[in-house]
């Protein structure tokens, strides 16, 4: 039972520790706070995972075999929390639904779908994302064209495309 209590404490500590490390990073190595780099979020999440895993290694399990199993288990759950943290931070940065919600909140007398699309339309979406992708080094500008520099971003996109196709979603009108 002690192990379970210690495990729960470790899991509960994950988000506060990650947020704290994130804040510390932004304070010590300031980047443009309105345009967070992927790295800042991922580094904080990974660092917190390693930190808590080391802590888990010290307190969980009695024998070596039990320690290995507990650590593996803790690693999986902390990995899930890491994915949650990265997902929430990324969605809150560039998620369309989240941004639409912000716009709906700002409109005191309500807002129609057409007004929402006018406020957050194609032009805005593309220019903000192009700037972000260039800042991250995913695209490089060559003349008036954008060229993909990081292939990992492409494979990452293909993975989600495949996942969507498997569930019956159509990304493109093909």
């Amino acid at each position: 039972m002690t192990d379970i209590v210690q495990l729960l404490i470790i899991l509960l500590l994950y988000f506060p520790v990650t947020v704290l490390i994130n804040r510390l990073q932004l304070t010590l190595f300031p980047v443009r706070k309105s345009l967070p780099a992927q790295g800042t979020i991922a580094r904080s999440a990974i660092f917190a995972l390693v930190l808590l895993l080391v802590f888990g290694g010290l307190v969980l399990g009695q024998s070596m075999a039990a320690k290995v199993l507990w650590l593996f288990y803790t690693f999986i759950i902390l990995g899930c929390l890491l994915l949650l943290y990265i997902s929430v931070m990324c969605v809150s940065e560039s998620g369309r639904r989240f941004y639409f919600m912000l716009l709906v909140e700002q409109a005191d007398d309500g807002i129609t779908r057409e007004e929402l699309q006018a406020a957050y339309g194609k032009q805005h979406m593309l220019s903000v994302r192009l700037e972000r992708l260039c800042t991250w080094g995913v695209f490089v500008k060559s003349g008036s064209s954008y060229v993909l520099r990081r292939q990992t971003a492409y494979w990452y996109s293909r993975f989600f495309h495949l996942w969507g196709s498997l569930l019956g979603f159509k990304w493109f009108q093909e």
């Binding site: 379970i4 495990l7 990650t18 947020v19 994130n22 804040r23 304070t27 706070k33 309105s34 967070p36 199993l69 507990w70 288990y73 999986i76 759950i77 990995g79 929390l81 949650l84 997902s87 929430v88 931070m89 809150s92 940065e93 369309r96 639904r97 989240f98 639409f100 919600m101 912000l102 007398d109 309500g110 779908r113 699309q117 957050y120 194609k122 805005h124 979406m125 593309l126 903000v128 994302r129 192009l130 995913v138 008036s144 954008y146 060229v147 993909l148 292939q151 492409y154 990452y156 996109s157 989600f160 495309h161 996942w163 969507g164 498997l166 569930l167 979603f169 990304w171 493109f172 009108q173």
Partner: protein, 167 residues
């Protein structure tokens, strides 16, 4: 801690995922979020509780398997929107990658990506998943789920040192 916990936790989550896959292929639900929670959190939890009540699992094994399957299910649910709504960033990456070394101009991206492709689905799901409600005049207002979500994410972003997003 035993291997049994990993097997039951992963199996319960896999059973939930198969249910979700079958459901989506047969007829996609209107409220994706609620259906995902039912498939990937509630269903696996129910299976594990039944196994405990039947005496197949001990209380500790049931609890730890439950945490495992809930963790896996939650991670899946939080990444699901990226597959569901074709994020503009990913669409742009795929289009620019397909253009190869010659690249793709902003104008070309604008001609390929329509307004509907970029935001249609997100607007639909905003109402469908009850983040916003629409009155008879077609005006959208934040629903309680939307208000809670905004409050929570804003708290997290500000605590982590980030400002409000640019979209």
């Amino acid at each position: 801690m035993s291997i049994e916990i990993f097997i039951t936790g992963f199996s319960a989550c896999l059973a939930g995922w198969l249910l979700h896959f079958a459901w989506w292929r047969l007829s996609r639900p209107v409220d994706d979020l609620r259906a995902l929670v039912a498939c990937l959190i509630v269903f696996p939890a129910a299976v594990l509780v039944v196994l405990f009540l039947l005496g197949t699992l001990t209380l500790q094994a049931c609890f730890l398997s439950l945490i495992l399957s809930t963790g896996l299910g939650s991670a899946y649910i939080f990444w699901y929107p990226a597959a569901q709504a074709a994020s503009p960033t990913m669409l742009m990456t795929v289009i620019v990658a397909r253009a190869g070394e010659s690249g793709c101009s902003e104008e070309a991206l604008q001609s390929v990506l329509t307004e509907e492709t970029l935001s249609g689905n997100s607007l639909e799901s905003l109402v469908g998943e009850r983040f916003a409600s629409e009155d008879t005049e077609g005006k959208l207002e934040l629903a309680p789920r939307g208000q809670r979500t905004l409050k929570l994410i804003r708290l997290l972003r500000h605590s982590a040192g980030f400002e409000d997003p640019k979209g």
